[in-house]
Amino acid sequence: MASIKEQFEIPGKMRTWSIALICVGLLALIIGFATKGISTDQHQKDIFWGTLMYNSIYFLLICNGSMFFICATTLAMGGWQVVFRRVPEAISTMVPIFGLIAFVILMYIVFGMGSHTHIYHWLDKDAVTNDEILKGKSGFLNPGFFLLWTVLAIGLWSLLGWRMRKLSSEADDPALANQDAGKSFIWRNTVTASLFIVWFGLTVASTVPWLWLMSIDPHWYSTMYSWYTFASSFVAGISLVALWIIYLKNKGYLAYTTEEHLHDIGKFMFAFSIFWTYLWFSQYMLIWYANMSEETVYFKHRVEGAYKGIFFLNIIINFVCPILILMKRSAKRNYTLMTFMAVLIIFGHWIDFYQMVMGSVRPEDAGLSWLDFGIAFLFVGLMIFFVGKALAKKPLLPVYHPFVKESVIHYT
């Protein structure tokens, strides 16, 4: 192991692929915009903007899941993740980019689409004045607060994430080998990480999913909704980290990241898939059991209507497959199987977000179209392009991180 490759260089193929995906995505975006986005049919317009919305929120939240992973392991004083820590860091650089895209889309929906959209019914002023319930909620569901909270949420995720990444750069400096410097490094990491986690709790684990997603059904409410959204985006986020690690390993990087580390990531994917199912079941079963019409309305068309197929597919992909396939130790240490499962989980939770948003925007008919995939390609392409760039900026191994040696000898 004389010379290790820890400086990532973007392979030509990756650049080509990312640009190709972006082009396909842009094409879909333009055609979609021309045929649906500026259509006079409100329905087509809703479909176009709804598709943009769930994709942007989904990809924003899974990339933010990377930063959550970094901060949570930092607070838990974890050592095992240090050898590949730069990977989730690079993924988290997408938060400001996707955040900006999501912001533009959300703002267009709130301020630009007019009040007759089916996406946010609470924008309809006539409906609100005639509807006691909506009127009561208008202290929370109003464009001003929506704007303010969205700016704050995305802004602070980006800012605190940026601070975490900046702190991480210190680990390339030999000065950190000193014990006192190491102590202060850990301390400063802990402070920023705890700030991030607190803000994450106040946004992703509570207010943001209510505001962005749950308010699509403005009469419906479920206290579980935000934790459910968090679980969904986090398990997909971990799978995304796994995919990048496997890709880098294949290219000969990350020499010290072994199947022992992959095994632990596999455990996260397995455990959080079950956790997601647990939240899914708790929410569904309680609503099913109590059988009150103001709550069951959410599941009515999902279980019995047009979304029936997608509803059950969601459970099969996100619960049955992970629990059966990832249960075995050898599966979590197998690069091929892990790649397959990571792709499946990311796709599965994308489907989950699809039914969460589109199931309410257009409950009467379902079906993934070229537009859904095209827009997803756009986001994937952007992600590959920018994450690749971010990876190339720093060495992949934080050589002077105080826990790096623990991470090197980590075994499961």
Partner: protein
């Protein structure tokens, strides 16, 4: 063999100049000497409390449930509050041993044995409340599914109360198995050190003939891992199912989907507080400060502030949804009876908020996390707060039901209801005192496992490794 190394920046898990033999000595000593006066005093107080509890239950069984102040709307009072409270406390042990094992938190080795024991005793205490609450307790076997002579009727498998029967008995059984299999090697150790024949015989029986064979250790490890893997969802499921008792109903304040994970977070919260109370005393009385270090106490305080904040997030979510739902009944439950300090039970809601959400925030400060007095005080405060939480959920939702004519009745417990609760403390501490006297309160074999990695004196020896460049280090030690 893997390199025994961890970063010098981490606090040692075992302090002092220890070797394997010293570990055995330190942990076995309390078992092998006569108990102190303090032990006897504590033990007899516990037994006295237990006897008062037995008398209270005797009254209830003989004269009927009317010995309690339950009334037409408040059909669940102190009994179910205490049940949920104890079962919540009974979550920390399995959490420490199972989830922290999977998360590889090394500090669990110092506290897992006592925490697991505490779990088992807490579950035993919890089980008493629904059992005696049945009234005609001799009919308790009705809950079991068997083809019976009362007509071809089965029990209602769709009822959350029955799920509870299954959940709690499974939880008790699995925790016991997990705890006991972990104890086998340590019983072997005590057996092999025993000076008297009787000790050798007794510890020989309970050690199941443990020998320390490599093959047995291999299976033991595999068993522990799988049991931990099973216990992790199990521990979540138990309080989840307890929360279903409330959340499947359509009572305002009970029917809310966040209940399952929020109950689990609360359970971990109160369980850790109880572990903290016991550990602060245990380490002092048995001289185990080297094994249950301030680092351990601090780690648990971090868990307390984390889970306290999660619970706080859930309280605020509920409160927000109470408003956001624009449902009159929900709003009444949350804003008239609970969050309103001047409503009849407003004190309990604000007591809960203060004890559970606001006060644990002091643990953001390292100094306070490492202060034993503050820790002990806070651990008691948290458990009071968690008792309030269950009281708030049960009583405030019940005492204003849909029939306003029942409203004027203010529920407060009788002496026998309180006696039953005190008795459960007696039961809990009697068990715990006996455990502390006859069982190794720290997992000896597990401490030995981490000793050369995390022991103070061993860490000093491998300090130089820290200076090696990563590449050389990896070349030498990576596998």
């Amino acid at each position: 063999m893997h390199l025994k190394y961890e970063s010098q920046l981490r606090e040692p898990l075992v302090n002092g100049d220890k070797n394997y033999h010293q570990v055995t000595e330190d942990i076995c000593r309390p078992i092998e000497v006569r108990p102190t006066k303090l032990w006897y005093i504590g033990f007899f107080i516990s037994v006295a409390l237990l006897l008062f509890g037995v008398y209270s239950v005797y009254r209830e069984v003989t004269y009927g449930i009317g010995q309690w102040n339950l009334n037409r709307t408040v059909g669940w009072g102190w009994d179910i509050t205490n049940f949920v409270w104890w079962i919540g406390i009974g979550h920390a042990g399995t959490l420490i041993s199972a989830i922290l094992l999977l998360f590889r938190q090394g500090w669990r080795t110092g506290v897992n044995r006592a925490a697991e024991a505490m779990t088992i005793f807490a579950v035993i205490c919890a089980g008493q409340f629904p059992l005696w609450h049945m009234g005609r307790v001799w009919m308790a076997f009705f809950v079991f599914p068997y083809p019976n002579t009362r007509g071809p009727l089965w029990i209602n498998f769709n009822s959350p109360l029955l799920w509870d029967v299954f959940a709690i008995s499974t939880y008790f059984t699995v925790s016991l198995l997990f705890w006991y299999t972990g104890l086998l090697p340590d019983f072997g150790t005590i057996r092999d050190r025993a000076k008297t024949k009787l000790r050798k015989k007794l510890y020989g029986i309970v050690s199941f003939g443990w020998s320390g064979s490599t093959k047995h250790w291999q299976r033991h490890e595999s068993l522990a891992l799988v049991l931990a893997g099973l216990s992790t969802p199990l521990v979540l499921s138990v309080h989840t199912i307890v929360s279903f008792d409330f959340a499947t109903s359509v009572v305002p304040g009970w029917h809310t989907t966040i209940f399952p994970p929020y109950f689990v977070a609360g359970a971990i919260f109160s369980g850790f507080a109880m572990v903290q109370s016991l550990m602060v005393i245990l380490r002092k009385v048995f001289n185990l400060q080297d094994y249950i270090t301030l680092g351990h106490i601090e780690a648990m305080n971090k868990v307390i502030v984390l889970t306290g904040s999660i619970v706080g997030c859930a309280y605020l979510t509920e409160l927000f949804m109470g408003w956001y739902s624009q449902n009159k009944y929900e709003q009444y439950a949350f804003f008239y009876t609970r969050a309103n300090l001047f409503s009849p039970y407003g004190w309990s809601y604000w007591g809960m908020m203060t004890c559970n959400v606001i006060s644990p925030q002091i643990f953001w400060f390292r100094k306070l996390r490492r202060n034993l007095y503050v820790t002990f005080f806070m651990s008691v405060v948290v458990n009071i707060g968690m008792w309030f939480e269950r009281f708030v959920i049960i009583v405030t939702s019940l005492f204003r039901d849909y029939l306003p004519s029942s409203w004027p009745v203010y529920y407060s417990p009788t002496i026998f209801e309180m006696g039953f609760y005190l008795g459960s403390f007696g039961l809990f501490f009697t068990c715990f005192f006996l455990f502390a006297k006859y069982f190794p309160v720290i997992a000896i074999a597990e401490i030995k496992h981490v000793l050369k990695t995390s022991g103070e004196n061993y860490k000093e020896k491998v300090g130089d490794i820290e200076k090696e460049p990563v590449e050389e280090f990896a070349h030498q030690y990576a596998h």
